[in-house]
Homo-oligomer: 212 residues x 2
DNA sequence: GTCTATATTGTGATAGAC
DNA sequence: GTCTATCACAATATAGAC
């Protein structure tokens, strides 16, 4: 039913613009007007494609979630060794986030004020209901951990703590980036140096913590 | 110039109410109406005491910051040993945050969308300009780290990474609490069990990571 | 200090031409 | 599909009585 072939491209432009504006203003602080300007289209078009601001916010959040989580999940569910998983997650996350440093802050804010959206998100990630999603990951990790502990090559740790620690160390500095910048008196290059150093040292820091 | 002696108490009630509403709705999502209801006063009174929503948000943020940061800063600046500092920060933060689990999420959101407020905040913390504030802390820590590294009792680490790691591990799980709840399929008691376990194990995890 | 009533602006959303 | 014009309401803020 489309004529110009512009429709999909326009929808993408709107999504990109909405993403940018939502990230910098927050979902509630964002204005449809600003999104329209950023996309180079009229306000009314946003409603044509996404009915309401809430629906648009939902779509943007889903897309952001699909960019932030799946690679970590896939890595943790893979059959790599624990050490390889840790190195891989750190590498992937720090690379991804260097490219979009404000994603964690946006996702955290959104989750805090709209926890109901997490359910639909996890569903979108693997077609699974969210309730037990992390549990499956934790169960697999725990088995791997227990095996290495029995072999004497790992300190005991609960899989939930393992995951929380790993994600904390990867995500938090980005989520708190503006605070770090201000408190440490960094310019833009300061945070980048910090992140580069982090790429070199974080996996070793984490693995050393688990050494028996 | 006050008559009823109610004024200070009312101002506090408004601050408390605003805090509660800002935390659960976010600054932009919060409505003056809801704050007034929560405080049990009229909308107009909020303007009488705080002129504008923005000023009110500023006041709430300052107060939250004064509750979140000073104890950590004081501990890191003290002359305790590194190990004592780590144990102390973990204990204090995890206890404080158990009592107000949504504070980190609120502060992170606010900082992301209003980075300019961090400046005034740090000023309020110690009467110092914010620019070099964290640098002083980092410098002191670095000296302590270098000494222990030279003595062969510590793995080398940059003080900035040290601080980032410590704060990440303490704060992130609270900031990401709604996500953890959903993904791990926890009820309210699930997160509390997780936090209790964390109080027991986090300091050791961190210290072990720095073992040479 | 606290309230009621009102002003004023901003903002999401729709109708309808092209 | 895209725009212009407009509606309807929500929300901050103020004026003024008590």
């Amino acid at each position: 039913m489309e004529m110009a072939g512009e429709d999909q491209e326009t929808e993408q432009r709107i999504l990109d613009a909405a993403h940018a504006v939502f990230v910098r203003r927050g979902t509630e602080g964002a204005r449809m007007q600003e999104i329209a300007e950023e996309a180079g289209v009229n306000k009314a078009l946003l409603h044509y494609y996404f009915r309401s601001k809430d629906k648009l916010a939902e779509a943007v959040f889903q897309r952001a979630g699909r960019r932030l989580f799946p690679s970590v999940i896939a890595t943790l569910l893979s059959d790599l060794t624990l050490e390889e998983k840790v190195r891989r997650v750190v590498d992937i996350e720090l690379d991804n986030l260097s490219a979009s440093p404000f994603l964690p802050g946006y996702v955290l804010c959104e989750i805090n004020h709209h926890p109901e959206r997490v359910a639909q998100l996890a569903g979108a990630l693997a077609g699974q209901p969210v309730e037990g999603f992390g549990r499956g990951i934790a169960a697999g990790l725990q088995a791997q951990i227990d095996a290495q502990v029995a072999a004497g090559t790992l300190r005991p740790i609960a899989a939930e703590q393992f995951m929380a620690n790993l994600l904390s160390l990867c995500l938090f500095p980005f989520a708190a980036q503006p605070m770090l910048r201000a408190v440490m008196g960094w310019g833009p290059e300061g945070f980048e140096r910090f992140t580069a150093e982090r790429k070199r040292t974080l996996a070793d820091f984490f693995l050393n913590a688990l050494r028996p």
